[in-house]
Amino acid sequence: MRRVALGALLSHWKRRPVQLAMLVLGLSLATALWSGVQAINAEARAAYAEAAATLGQDRLARLVPADAAHVDEADFVALRRAGWLVAPVLEGRMRLGGERVTVMGVDPLTAPPQEGLAALDEDDGLAGFTAPPGRGLAAPETAAELADAPLPVEPARGIAPGIVIVDIGIAQRLLDAPGRLSYLQLHPDQPPDRPALSTIAPQLEERPHDDAGELARLTDSFHLNLTAFGFLSFAVGLFIVHSAVGLAFEQRRPVFRTLRALGLPASSLMALLVAELAALALIAGALGVALGYLVAAVLMPGVAATLGGLYGAEIPGSVALRPQWWLSGLAIALAGTLVAAARDLWRTARLPVLAAARPRAWALISERALAAQLGAAAVLALVAVALAQIGGGLVGGFTMLAALLLSAALALPVILYAVLRGAQALARGPVAQWFWADTRQQLPGLSLALMALLLALAANIGVGTMVSSFRLTFTGWLDQRLAAELYVTARSDAEAEAIRDWLAPRADAILPIWYVEGDLAGRPGRVYSVADHATYRDHWPLIDAGARPWERVAAGEGVLVNEQLARAEGLWAGDGTLDLPGGPELPVVGVYSDYGNPQPQVMLGLDAFTRHYPDAPQRQHGVRAPPEAVHDLAAELRAEFDLPDANVTDQAEAKRFSLQIFERTFTVTRALNVLTLGVAGVALLASLVTLSGMRLAQLAPVWAMGLGRARLARLELWRALALAGFTALAALPVGLLLAWVLLAVINVEAFGWRLPLHVFPADWARLGAVALVTGALAAALPALRLARIAPAQLVKVFAHER
């Protein structure tokens, strides 16, 4: 019995392959974008975990300097002599053979056993590793990139990409850090009778092991953003599924009734419908996951570059196939389908067997339903406003976004209904009146697709505004901040001193850009030196400042902090003091914008800096020179000191590099935006194609009264254009609100800086055109079909009338 009934249910799809294709396509696309983003996130997180596990950070506690920027080698020796089982690690970023990598120096004799160092157990492994020039161990893909490195780098397992493990002595030489260590690893089994840390090395403190890894925490916001966009795309895709499933249920309502009347119990009917949906979801989900893999593979290099540029996080540029990712993709497809079909399943379960045999008036609009929808939209809007008042972190921000978008989507049909009714009232002539009335009648059938289009357009406007505002602010900020004409990095302190001497008679000013790394308000950050020079006073944009900030910084009476640190710790000018690593406690006298940097940063006057951090490397400088002399000066500098090109950068190049990182950062977001708009286009196409089959009964009388097929087809096209155009207009304020939330709430929570909102009307015009083209493309096929329909098909409408 069930098999026969299932055959009858499934025969619906056989007769409507386009509808089936749209359903599968909608669900596949939704799953693809979602699982593509998840694949990227999973890959990146796996890379972070691998990086965290490379030297056992995920399971070994460590000793770190309480205040200073580094650990002295003497502390290591003292602790070992006192019985502590510790292993030294020196970590630093540098260019090796043209590639930027993280060099990790370890002592193979005291390091805890780990997979990455297994190669050293082989014959001659240890000797080659420790004896100059040394030998590096790296992940196979990193080792392959380092063929030109000054020391041989061999592939090894258990090391994250972008990390090269070398002997500690070799690392100190490569990083020019003699006698320095980054931290000491603690073996898990320490002698119980060892002396207390405070008696041997009171300047060190124990930090527990880090399960997730610093990178995972640092990049959480980035991945949350990606997830949010993936979810938005998924939600837009679900609109298609909801629309297609809803239509299929309505079309089959008489069949459900007949099946029930012919003896199929309601429970069996429900079971069959759920099984049918589950089968469709799994097929479409599998296609979607496969498509998602392609999406991830295309986007992954951009993500890898972004994470590398923004956070120094090395992740592979390719995607691995992980079983849990496949399963989660199928699960989300299944869950999404059931959510999208829940209302229809519920209605079918409650369907009285004696309900009208005719399909329920699917395309009839109920003013009461519209009022209810408007009420729900108002409630959601109030929720968004309340969240804006209360706050609640990143999750609160995204919840506000979701409430805002859903509210706008629910309000759209109500707004369109009112607009179309107004247009009908204003229309002159019977065809125009019929056109607007008929468009209004189509609204319920198209409203889900139009909601999807609204969401996609609003997301495009919102994200586009955010990115463009960011770019405008960022470029202005770069112009101010990269005020020096030339940036020079020496290879050693001695060379830096020689360069300064050489430049002194040739440049207008030499501005040291020296820094130390250390703990700032509990997070790793940097303290920079700042010279007392007009370049800073005139160009550096301060977003908050007390009296005479530059003078006080120059006198060592205060520090400037970046916006991220100010927002995270509530440290604004005059609000408090900041403990500098290994240095004094100084008041905050100003706050500066520092876009693109996720870490806390402090500016300390040059004199105070050299006094507190005499050991800090002094190699990087900004050089002020007449712009027309910069090119020759750079060439002479390179020739004089045999400096590589990368060590002498002019202002334009520095800006180009910064903008390149900026553009990369938003490549993925932009790609997801375009894909979401594509999904919305498919939603509109799906609705128009499926509705076109039901339109004949409405169009045949008008045709019979003298409106030709070609004109009817043109009107169908105009109808889609009108609806897409109205939707684009409605999307504009929603998109701007979205941009405001992104800039004023999400960005501040995720990255720690706030940006001004700029508007870009040319972008809106372009997007409006895209919306119209989307509408026209979606309507083209149904309109073409109508233009070519045989008159006999239209006549049949009257033949079926009883």
């Binding site: 009858a8 003896g263 004696l354």
Partner: protein, 218 residues
């Protein structure tokens, strides 16, 4: 007794209050016999048919099919009764639009587990549908669709056929032919037929008649 309807009452709620449709109707139908149920529009004919089919529940009274009271049965049991014992012919055909004529004809027989291809071929020939087996309902006229609906019911060999205006969409000649066929086939398989009709002419061809007026058997 194949079908016993005993003192059945049924009312429906409307915007203006409760509308009594059946007010203590009692009827009986023996196997192998036919009974025409006539009456004005709104007299309760279709409601009574729906109650007899277990599609709805009476407010009071008893309905027994082959001696079993169906009033207290749950959804699954009533569905099983319709599947195994009853054949329904609807006024609006209720064919499955996505199945072709052949599949529609065989559908209820397959649901009931009594599929007999030879019988379906025979029925199709006798109903003049042999040339349309691969067509879909939307490609048929109203009369052809009604013949498919009748064929679908008879192919399942139900003990009780309940037909609601089965010839209402057919011209007189075709209607007569279809009713002839129904009566012959029902008699041939010893089934009972409860026929709802407006037509006194058609009603006269049944073994017995009952006329409903204002919810009562007149």
């Amino acid at each position: 007794m194949l079908l016993e309807i005993d003192g059945v009452e049924k009312s429906f709620g409307t915007g203006d209050g409760v509308l009594p449709v059946l007010r203590g109707v009692s009827l009986g139908l023996e196997a192998g016999r036919s009974l025409a149920l006539t009456g004005e529009s709104g007299s309760g004919k279709s409601t009574l048919l729906h109650l007899a089919a277990g599609l709805d529940q009476p407010d009071s009274g008893a309905i027994r099919v082959q001696g079993a009271d169906i009033a207290g049965l749950g959804d699954a049991a009533r569905a099983a009764l319709r599947r195994d014992t009853i054949g329904l012919v609807f006024q609006q055909f209720n064919l499955i639009p996505s199945l072709d004529v052949g599949a529609n004809l065989a559908f209820q027989a397959r649901m009931a587990g009594r599929h007999d291809p030879a019988r379906i071929a025979d029925l199709a020939a006798r109903l003049g549908l042999s040339d349309f087996l691969r067509r879909y309902p939307e490609q048929l006229s109203g009369g052809q669709q009604q013949r498919v609906a009748i064929g679908r019911t008879l192919a399942a060999r139900p003990a009780l056929v309940l037909a609601d205006e089965p010839t209402g969409n057919l011209d007189e000649a075709t209607g007569d032919a279809v009713l002839d066929l129904m009566l012959a086939l029902v008699a041939q398989q010893g089934a009972g037929l409860l026929l709802v009709t407006h037509s006194p002419r058609l009603a006269a061809r049944c073994d017995a008649q009952a006329h409903l007026r204002a919810g009562r058997v007149a």
